[in-house]
Amino acid sequence: MTMVETAVAPDMPGSAIPDAPVAVEVRDLHKSFGQLDVIKGVSMTAREGDVVSIIGSSGSGKSTFLRCINLLEIPTSGRVSVGGEEIRMKRDRHGQPVPADWRQVERIRTSLGMVFQSFNLWSHLTVLQNLIEVPVHVLKTPRAEAIERAEALLARVGLADKRHVYPAFLSGGQQQRAAIARALAIQPKVMLFDEPTSALDPELVGEVLKVIRDLADERRTMILVTHEMKFAREVSDQVIFLHKGLVEEEGHPGEMFRNPRSERLRQFLASTQ
């Protein structure tokens, strides 16, 4: 155990390639909803090629933390940088933090492929239309090129024959695979997964995890909020265990899961067995 601890630099626990460029950096992030402090100072560094899993019980703030990275939630304080570019913030006339330039936020969001717990595919568009919507209308990719890439992605997630089907006619597992393909279609720098299997029937979890595992194997940068402990342990380079809005423990998954240092992580892991 001592050997492992000394082998890993303390400021970047378990980074896959320790000197790779930083993809996402979060410093001292706080988020409150009214009187309720949900995130109380969390930092994280994900380098290119890293798979970072964020685990914790419900209410630990892990989803909120993820949603602060693409500003679906506006942090109360702290800094978020994507690809070395910090999201500029200011205060509005009520003293509330707001982005200084929404266009910067919109631009940065197109480099973050988000996958939601409840899929959130656009119901009025077919699967293929869902995949080309952002490339064509936001990124201004030529339509033919966007379609070609989308069809390749659908083939990859095993949905080639469903491209003209509307999302409501797909199973949950198929919808989530389509949603992952939609995220990949924007050619993101980083993939953000917000509990991607939590809304699925148990028998459909495997097909979605397989797609995510393939992405991890090709060293895609990913930040993954999950309840799937076994999966997090297998695919992650770095695990962050959040408890009540703070990092209770972080490090390399093998080490953390084998020898949890904190009592809370021990209890949490025991409860998820």
Partner: protein, 237 residues
């Protein structure tokens, strides 16, 4: 029978041509007012959902008043007070008063009435869209305008079409109220034909059939539109 056909003939002394011209005028006003109302409705719904407090208060006042006051009264107020107001403004700037065409006035007046109802229909429909779909549009970097145009408006249509369809049928019938301000739409033309010939029953039945025809065609078209925009929704529930 020959006499009835003679009365309904398209060429004078028959009155059929007048009735059809009235029908065309009614439809022009209905189309114009409906689309004006739809534009007001989309703007009004966005204002009510995402506007500031002043915007919301003004829109609440607008929809409440328009929906509370009988349409006949509203049309009299808006038509006479509206033209007076415009001419007062023109006079203030030293311009000659103008004669506002019945068509433009009719479209404007009914459009304002339609707009209040459209606002509520569109607002309700937008609120029915699962929030996650709008959130996904935000997460993928769509600007507010793009979100509205590409996601929110098309996604709310299946929920709005029944209400908007009803509003279209109302629009076609509300044109009849414009008879009171002397606009030569179908109902006024019918009254003139009936009054001149004393054949009230014949002409009002004829007008009723024309209105019915408009409704039947509209219902068919609305049904087709509804089926089309509901393609993405599961067929049950």
């Amino acid at each position: 029978m020959d006499e009835i056909l003679a009365l309904l003939a398209l060429e004078p002394p028959g009155w059929g041509g007048n009735l059809l011209r009235g029908l065309v005028s009614s439809l022009e006003i209905a189309f114009g007012a409906y689309f004006l109302g739809l534009v007001i409705g989309i703007g009004g719904a966005c204002g009510k959902l995402w506007g500031g407090e002043t915007t919301k208060a003004v829109l609440d006042l607008y929809t409440t008043i328009v929906r509370a006051v009988p349409e006949l009264v509203l049309i009299l107020i808006l038509y006479f007070a509206g033209t007076d107001l415009i001419n007062l403004i023109l006079d203030y700037f030293g311009r000659e008063p103008i004669d506002i065409s019945g068509l433009v006035a009719g479209i404007a007046v009914l459009g304002v009435v339609q707009g209040a109802y459209s606002t509520e229909v569109v607002r309700g429909a937008i609120q029915t869209i699962p929030a996650g779909q709008i959130e996904a549009a935000r997460a993928y970097g769509m600007s507010p305008w793009l979100r509205l145009r590409r996601i929110i408006l098309p996604a709310m249509l299946p929920f709005a079409i029944p209400g908007l369809g009803n509003l279209w049928l109302n629009a076609t019938k509300d044109t009849a109220i414009l008879a009171v301000v002397g606009f030569a739409e179908l109902t006024l033309e019918t009254r003139q034909a009936a009054g001149s010939t004393k054949r009230y029953f014949l002409f009002y039945i004829a007008a009723g059939l024309l209105y019915l025809m408009v409704t039947l065609v509209s219902t068919y078209v609305i049904g087709r539109i509804e089926a089309r925009v509901r393609r993405g929704l599961p067929r049950h529930g």
